[in-house]
């Protein structure tokens, strides 16, 4: 029985229950929902509890793009309900599998409809295309009893009622006016009658209509509740709370998904955002795009077989697309040229889910962003996230000229925090950076992304000025290190209890894959950090540009795509 009920669509709220930035608490078949509308109009119907400690999300904060839990400030994205930020661990990217339970929802006829297991579209309600929503009436009685009572509902002598196949009741008068009532089963002994009147009326006429039906519904309610009180009260529904996924039980969770391109997106818009830089808006062909975090990149599998990484520039809650920026590289090996010359609007691309190896801390009192050229893209997403939270930052963007300034509209959001430095020579750039980085301090952080030489120079200046290694975060576009893969060594896999040999000419990552061990990777040149693995014992020859000098000296992790053992053996935490 319950299963049938679960597969139906029911109205659970009026559209007017979802004013801007509000979170409405609804309930269906004993299960509570947090219902909220994002600023882009999308209506989210989620289980009313934060996955962390079960606190109701209906007491959370709707900031227009994300819902924030009141207890620990966890943020969940519009549409996907994926967790985008865990403030207790600001340096970590949340595991992508932390995702709240969402339910099918539709907004139509002035009502919000949901069903625990509803499928397909909400059936059309003929004759109510232009309707007035009547005042919902809660009734402490089982849904069936209310439906039965509604068959006797009438506002004049000519009214005739009939039950529809979906269980709702339509009452029609000979003058053509009609009311269709849907009964929302809140719980086994608690219903809400939600009714539509088949004409759009306004002003005085609407008030009179609402009053009249409120009065009649109140009479129906009294009768029905009296009848229900005479019967034995049915046991309340006990909705099962779904368990979180297995991989979240042990902490921290690390996702393993290899270099896959599971998603198919369509280029919805392609335009030149600056001289030599194209911006591409990618939209899902079906289903929802996975949650991204500021700093995340996606792998784009190009029609020519190449795989390239591009940072997502989206602001918080922009979950219906990813926007990336692609610079035409003069010495391109075919990646950026393919995007510029052959990919067009309407084309379909295979991409990976976003991965975040450049996470943004949001516990800084001040954050400095330093972008060089196309390196601006991940920093735009980061600064937009801080901006939305009202956290303090400054944004320095080094470009050749005004024509090279990409994403001007997004940058304009930063107002006074934005500093565009145009046409500076390397020496002038160094002087500017020396000023910008003059004051390291407690809870101050720097994020750098740009061409290799500028990145090196900036890191050096930061170090000279006394910035701690942990406060300087960076992302290289590519690894220009001359790679040496001439030695051979053994790797012990501590968790898998295997010993493997890595011969000359092969990477650790290659050997792991050959032996059926699934290891995520993305750029496969030591720049992005995806294939990072813990080192329990042994010395490492680091050939990547992802780890900081401090992390390299510590020797506790290795980029398995390029780095190798300095000793005969490495024990890896895998």
């Amino acid at each position: 029985m319950t299963t049938d009920l679960q597969s139906n669509w029911y109205p659970i709220a009026s559209s007017s229950d979802l004013p801007k930035r509000h979170v409405y608490q609804a309930q269906l078949l004993g299960r509570e929902f947090a219902v909220w509308r994002a600023d882009d109009g999308y209506v989210n119907v989620w289980e009313n509890r934060c996955l962390h400690r079960g606190v109701r999300l209906s007491i959370g904060i709707n900031n227009g793009t994300e819902l924030r839990c009141q207890y620990h400030g966890w943020r969940y994205a519009n549409r996907t309900a994926g967790c985008t930020y865990i403030p207790a661990h600001p340096a970590d990217a949340p595991a992508r599998t932390i995702c709240n339970n969402t339910y099918p929802a539709q907004e139509a006829y002035g009502l919000v409809w949901a069903g625990e297991l509803a499928v397909g579209e909400l059936p059309a309600i003929d004759g109510f295309e232009s309707a007035t929503v009547l005042r919902p009436v809660p009734i402490m009685a089982p849904q069936k009893m209310v439906n039965q009572a509604l068959l006797g509902y009438a506002w004049d002598d000519t009214c005739e009622s009939a039950e529809n196949s979906d269980g709702s009741v339509t009452i029609t008068a000979t003058d053509g006016s009609a009311v269709r009532v849907f009964v929302q089963p809140v719980d086994s002994n608690h219903s809400v009658a939600r009714a539509l009147y088949n004409r759009k009326v306004a002003g005085e006429e609407r008030i009179a209509l609402l009053k009249r039906h409120s009065w009649l519904m109140q009479e129906l309610r009294d009768r029905t509740e009296t009848q229900a009180a005479r019967q034995e009260t049915p046991a309340p529904y006990e909705p099962v709370i779904a368990k979180v996924s297995e991989d979240l039980v042990d902490i921290p969770a690390i996702s393993v998904d290899g270099r896959k391109a599971d998603l198919r997106v369509q280029v919805a818009r392609k335009e030149m955002t600056a001289d030599g830089i194209a911006s591409l808006r990618l939209e899902a062909i079906k289903d929802q795009l996975p949650t991204f975090q500021p700093g995340a990149h996606i792998d784009v599998h190009l029609p020519n077989g190449l795989v390239r990484q591009y940072s997502v520039t989206n602001g918080p809650g922009e979950t219906d697309h990813y926007t990336i920026g692609v610079k035409r590289e003069p010495d391109s090996r075919g990646g950026s040229v393919a995007i510029h010359d052959t990919v067009g609007e309407g084309d379909v691309l295979a991409i990976s889910a976003p991965r975040n190896n450049f996470p943004l801390r949001r516990d800084a009192v001040h954050t400095i962003f330093i972008a060089g050229g196309i390196g601006v893209t991940p920093l735009i997403a980061m600064a937009r996230a801080l901006n939305a939270q009202g956290l303090e930052f400054e944004f320095h963007y080094f470009v050749q000229s005004d024509d090279h300034v990409a994403f001007k509209r997004e940058l304009s959001e930063f107002e006074g925090a934005l500093n565009i430095h145009k046409g500076q020579s390397p020496k002038e750039t160094g002087e500017t950076l020396t000023e910008v980085l003059a004051n390291p301090g407690y809870a101050r952080h720097v994020y750098i992304c740009g061409p290799g030489p500028m990145l090196e120079a900036t890191r050096q200046i930061a170090a000279d000025k006394g910035w701690a290694d942990e406060a300087v975060h960076f992302e290289y576009f590519k690894n220009t290190t001359e790679l040496d893969d001439s030695n051979s060594f053994e790797i012990d896999l501590a968790r898998s209890a295997m010993t493997l040999t890595v011969p000359a000419g092969k990477s650790i990552l290659d050997v792991l894959r050959e032996n059926g061990i699934n290891m995520s990777s993305s750029c496969e040149q030591g720049a992005c950090g995806t294939c990072r693995c813990g080192v329990i014992e042994g010395d490492v020859i680091h050939q990547d540009v992802y780890l900081s000098d401090g992390e390299k000296a510590e020797g506790r992790s290795i980029m398995t795509c390029v780095s190798r053992a300095a000793s005969n053996r490495l024990i890896l935490d895998i």
Binding site: N48, L51, R53, V365
Partner: protein, 283 residues
């Protein structure tokens, strides 16, 4: 649902604040859904009667509270040396009824991550939200201790002046008794002490009795009470909005993070001791 956990039935539980009891003739309260009458006898000693059977229950007075047991206690009430130190106040912040399992209250008490969001401007503030790694251990006395817990706080105590990095130490003595030690702003080498004696009224409701042992210097009793009430009044609406009201012990029921290390051990410790009252047992 009645309580079948021997470890709970055979333990002492605080059921009344003696000062409050003296101001009225008697009070009715519940322990594990059994109605109790707590009264003052002519000799000034309190008595506890199990109403349904008219049976007198064992009684002790300690730390200003009346304690009783529904079973046969095989151990005493916990020892709190701080309560005997002459230069400390012993203040109750009040006995707070809360519509949630007492085990959820313990877990909330052990949690630092909520400070910036629930106790904004007092025990924490954005953007200082990070919970740094800390140590957790199960002692040979079967208590849970969490140490090296540091957190940035704007107003850590009634006398604190400006933000400081505060050090906490947490201690779970019994399933429903939890305490914390916290940096005293005037004496870096001594710590203020707060303990919760939680009375399990039902599986989804409790009364939170508490005792605050603050070093007297620079502090007044009304300020201590006011601060405790302020902080608890911020916790209460969060606690009462937790679904389910009972604490789930299945590891897959909720999503722990590193900051929850002490809570993870607490849930496991409850499982290992077969504490089911106020919990949803792991399948």
């Amino acid at each position: 649902m009645s309580c079948h956990d021997r470890i709970l039935l055979d333990d002492w539980h605080a059921v009344a604040d003696l000062e409050q009891l003296k101001s009225g003739a008697h009070l009715k309260t519940e322990l594990f859904e059994r109605v109790l009458k707590v009264s003052i006898q002519p000799n000034g000693m309190p008595a506890v009667t199990l109403c349904a059977e008219g049976r007198d229950l064992p009684v002790q007075v300690k730390y200003g509270f009346v304690w009783t047991s529904l079973g046969t206690p095989d151990r005493g009430i916990i020892d709190i040396p701080e309560a005997l130190e002459a230069d400390r106040y012993l203040v109750s912040g009040g006995s707070f009824p809360v519509k949630v399992s007492g085990l959820r209250v313990v877990e909330n008490f052990l949690d630092m991550g909520h400070f910036p969001f629930v106790h904004t401007g007092w025990l924490g503030e954005e953007p200082h939200t990070e919970v740094a790694p800390y140590q957790v251990e199960l002692t040979s006395d079967d208590e849970i201790i969490a140490t090296e817990c540091f957190f940035h706080q704007p107003v850590a105590s009634p006398t604190a002046d400006g933000g400081i990095e505060v050090e906490y130490k947490y201690r779970v003595y019994r399933p429903y008794i939890v305490a914390l030690y916290k940096t005293n702003p005037l004496y870096p080498d001594r710590m203020d002490y707060i303990v919760l004696f939680i009375q399990p009224v039902g599986p989804e409701s409790c009364v939170v009795h508490n005792m605050l042992c603050y070093i007297k210097e620079g502090m007044s009793e009304p300020d201590i009470r006011w601060f405790m009430q302020l902080i608890f009044a911020q916790d209460k609406p969060i606690l009462e909005n937790q679904i389910p009201r009972r604490l789930p012990l299945d590891p897959r029921a909720e999503t722990p993070i590193r900051a929850d290390k002490v809570a993870i051990l607490y849930r496991r410790w409850l499982r290992d001791h077969d504490v089911n009252y106020g919990a949803i047992p792991a399948a």
